[in-house]
Subunit: 402 residues, 4 copies
């Protein structure tokens, strides 16, 4: 069916807006929907329809009308010395915030000139925490004992649903007549939320069959997905990554126009004391900015920047030189699945050399996590230095937004 | 200069990668940069180069190589009864998460059928909080007194830098020899971070001239921008918005396949108790998802989803029917400036009828904020209902990601 | 009636355990109750009955059986240079934790030798935040407007209930169909919780009469009393106090057996970074210890140590010397009312020269708040120094507990 | 030496105030110190000197001058059905807050009449988390691997220092060049902080000998002791206890003068939503009050009320009746050591039947923990009910404080 005909049927109410893909190819459906919406609302939607990936995106969006284009820049090269990452990386960043790529690029340059960033992945597990209703704390205690004794049964059920996932832990948190069980999985190169959800559903079914606990919700908010939760900031979710770098005093002076002492003072007064005073989970300058830009460029879920933003940045003076570090408890990303399959996102992953499944499984996701950690470090270094040399506002003004 | 020539000069090291826009139009520069990076890294970057907005985006990105395309869907119509918003809205959502638009759409449909969502803006101010160094708490006390007596002087200096901004407050937070001053501004239709930064810089200069306090950093992290901070969750930042709806029992049953009691139980055990148990700022199911998708579609800053994610969702049973609400302390958005000028983003704002400056100033931003509040409510309602009817995982599996 | 006779009537069930004070003087009643409980439970209660203040304590406890004796030590002299406090103070500390008084005393000594601590009160208000039920966010918006326009009416109603209290603010926090109104009062020399509660009850009655909002609970937990809440840590409750001191390098070396650099490193790695990593409200070493001991000695409410514990301690090196500060957002105390009337507690206040009402009203409470701030500073300095010189555990072992 | 003679030597400066116990028995020393301080400060200290336990308290306080007397009441009988606790308990409460014992007593009575409270201990470990300095994240990763491989070595070193303590876990938290290792111990009937500190010191020495990590502070604030930290609220510290009760509708009506629905509404709007809105760790009405009173009566550390205050209280309606629960992640207490040895405190423990070491080791501490959980539940029930029946303020006014 052509999109003209579809449009007619939409006007006549013969087909609903969300059913178009049932009766036509994705491209045609999106075209008809866009034209219909534009007509009804009396607006033009030419730009969003100019170029998009309707066929490829059918698993990523519903009620498609086209695409939003985000400006894409590259920062780097960024020299990363990780367990999985090694060498120079060009970091793709999709953003609309003027000065962000330039600032990160400056950080990359300073780090690379000083010998590169070290990066490591410390924890690696994706969590899903259903909430079960029990009759009270007595039954809760029995249920906790049951869980402890039946982890193998749950593991079998959970792992039957997945090729790559492995159940690592299932930790209960009792609260009155609620028992939250935080299941943690190794998820290979996937970000792993869907895998964890499917596997946990299977485990929850076993629980419902074998105990008196009743499932209330497959997510009980101790996961905690896309919420600023202490449980993630403290215990981690996805990949926990730390990155650091040493910068010679001269480099700080010439490249960053400031001193190690001034950077350390900003890190102290703003990032540590200021964050504490504001009641912040994490302590950093703008980790979310770099995370959002790299996540968007590489097909990650931008809402997971929420957890990622609880990063901890430190800076100190060592023998007159500068030590900087950033620790990210919750870097949630993958190189397969989700948005990573889309054309522009896939190219960005290829630019980093981490597209698709790694060998062994998980290697690509961990490499990406280390690069992301180092890129956030570059952003943190650059902004701390900019504040230290007191020209944050000038940079913004010049590169412009309002 | 043609991009072939530029490419040659890049290869020869005659021009640096970030300087291309100095010697060629933005389109040509981006093309040359893309070709060079693709060549050096040995990858194809055809997709990211297929369609982009190099000229329009020069204030939004540096080291441009093209564009990332995000799938764009529409949810709605969503009936919103706000102080500024009124009538049916088609909500543009840019996302790669399968099922998100469909789920939000279902929520919109249920809300609209039940008579629409009520929405209100409660607070409206953008903040910037520089940190000053003083000699100690004695001088801090004097500085606090000085601030109290000289607010007018600071206001004059701050407001001289802006056409639309107004300084509302300048509240000091002393911590030893640090004084954080949280400046709050009315910012019209702009999100207002840059305006607030420029104005605060001017005020800080006055402070440095007239007192012994020394500026350490123009942002002292009590702003708090793009960090999960209690100060925002409690006191708000940008627009504080609340939205709610009443749904008849029958509608909950037929449309959402569950009951008001089941939804209220999920809201209780997962959203309130679960969030408390996880140490979360805010208490919601997935506010960040809807925020991220609408922010991206309409040119907002996706990193500000971090603050926005501290939303509070409640659900309760009233006379057998369902009451649901979502309160978002920190909705940071604008209809002018930043990414709102880009072609696809501008179309999305036009779809909502809020592109550009409002009349009076601020009316468009507030209308958008109310629509965003209602859209988050739709997403919250839909996910709570889906969990209540126990099919979260099935929906994800069917609509697919991993 | 004698206590023998009372005991008989208790055994016969003629009088209930909690009614004894209705039929006999407090001393007799307590004696009878103690004997009865001892008899029924088969234990001796001689020690708790040895010396107590039954008559004086009738407003402080019910079902009295005697007294718990807490060991009382004194730290100091502590030289405090405040706005209200001035000169040397002997700080009474009631505690069972070995080494605590000795450690605080060491801090006092170091501070006093170095010229004393500076201390200031920054905010001074007691809060009570009832929660009202409204029909939804639409009515909430109207209610917020009403509050703004009727603050004077509420002030009149509130202040009619109190001689010393003044209503300073009434700030609304909307959350769906809940409106929390945080009333803040100046409370003179009283800690002020009861005053605030009574006054807020009167204001709430006016609200119920004049609006559609219905009172659900006179405390809606945004007060927030005796809970670790960000709203207190950020905005303060009771008195917000900061204290600091400068210690010459030589003194740090000789008296504290360490260096300014080592103390600053502990403050950085443990107190700032460690607290951030643990998701702590506040950032200090053991402020709660000193607060609890001084609160107990002077008749304050030990449960309010909870809020007080969100203190911020910093240490840094200045020209080779040591700067230390502690900022306590929520010091909740008084010199009249509550436990301050009891014999031993009153003596402790007299030892500090702050017993009873001040002149002007509030002067005594503020003086006490400044002394408390300085005493916490002494404790913080001493523990940071002890950790820096690596002998925490030895001190505990020697002075002993397990 | 007599105290007259000591006093003379103090006046002459021949002996320092803190050295008196070196030259005289504790009683004499305290008497002399009290007289000297009274003389110098020009105040009477007769009451604090009236009755005290100088000899017994030498490990609990330094610079002793006497004792603070806290009014002691009893609540109960409280019927507790625990794993360790069983039967009726009279709960000793030391407090100066009028209405607290009466209110708790009312809750005990309602619970006991309804069949008692169920209580369970879920986690049981005391933590100490030193912070180590490493060269950077690369070395941190090696250190984490080393820890994983050498837990047995650390266990041997740690357990050599203690008769009852067992090392359960040693979990590392990396943050840049800081590694925090949270050691967790089973501590028998002791609260266990000192035991954990001594054992961790021994383990830390092994670490310093065998790795390049250097100890910065034996406590790195991830313990986290006496600070309101999410790590405790989420993961627990000391004993994690939950208690609950079911109350028939009629009992709620007659005894508590309210309805299950009204109590549940207060628990929802105040305790869950209000606490979330205030950014609180935990969600309860006044857990700290009951904890402080029982801790003080039984010789616990009142500063540890800080962690204990992060309790979670829920209330809901089941078949027209009331279900209430309280979950306390961090109940830190013991029945041996610390203040439990003092005369009045020991009597209070005997009143509960838990004085001294249990059989098996830990049984007494767990029994006490369950009783404390049930007592907090009683306090929570009573206050929620009082608010629901709207007479909080009246109760306070009548029983009086200001």
């Amino acid at each position: 069916m052509e999109d003209d005909e579809l449009l007619e049927r939409l006007r006549d109410g013969e087909v609903a807006l969300h059913e178009l893909e049932d009766v036509a190819p994705a491209d045609t459906a999106a075209e008809a929907r866009r034209r219909y919406v534009a007509e009804v609302e009396g607006v033009a939607l030419d730009e969003v329809g100019a170029e998009h990936d309707a066929e490829e995106a059918t698993n990523n969006v519903e009620n498609a009308v086209g695409a939003t284009r985000l400006p894409l820049g590259v920062a780097g090269p960024l020299d990363v010395d990780g367990e999985h990452a090694s060498g120079d990386y060009r970091v793709p960043m999709a953003t609309t915030e003027g000065a962000l790529v330039a600032s990160t690029n400056r950080g990359c340059s300073a780090i690379t000139q000083s010998g590169g960033a070290t990066a490591r992945v410390f924890e690696d597990s994706m969590t899903r925490a259903p909430v079960f209703r029990v009759s009270g704390v007595g039954e809760a205690a029995e249920f906790v004992d049951w869980l402890d004794e039946n982890l193998d049964v749950l593991r079998d059920a959970a792992e039957e649903t997945t090729d790559h996932g492995e159940l690592l832990r299932a930790k209960p948190y009792v609260t009155g007549d609620n028992v939250y069980v935080r299941f943690a999985y190794a998820t290979g190169d996937a970000m792993g939320m869907n895998m964890a959800t499917v596997a946990t559903r299977a485990a929850a079914e076993v629980i419902e069959e074998r105990t008196d606990a009743e499932l209330v919700a497959l997510s009980g908010n101790l996961c905690a997905d896309k919420k600023p939760a202490a449980i993630n900031a403290v215990e981690g979710r996805g990949r926990t990554v730390a990155a650091d770098a040493f910068l010679p005093r001269e480099l700080v002076r010439e490249k960053l126009k400031t001193t190690p002492e001034a950077v350390a003072e900003v890190a102290q007064r703003k990032t540590l004391v200021g964050s504490a005073r504001a009641g912040t989970l994490g302590a950093n300058a703008h980790a979310a900015n770099v995370l959002a830009a790299v996540y968007l460029a590489t097909g990650q879920d931008p809402a997971q920047v929420v957890e990622g933003a609880s990063a901890y940045t430190t800076a100190s003076v060592r023998d007159g030189n500068l030590y900087v570090s950033t620790t990210l408890p919750a870097v949630e990303l993958g190189t397969v699945g989700g948005g990573t399959r889309l054309p522009t996102q896939k190219e960005a992953l290829e630019l980093l050399g981490v597209a698709g499944g790694g060998d062994p499984a998980g290697a690509n996701a961990r490499e990406l996590a280390e690069v992301v950690g180092a890129a956030v470090l570059a952003g943190e270094l650059s902004l701390h230095a900019a504040l230290a040399s007191n020209h944050l506002e000038e940079a913004h003004t010049r590169l412009g937004r309002d």
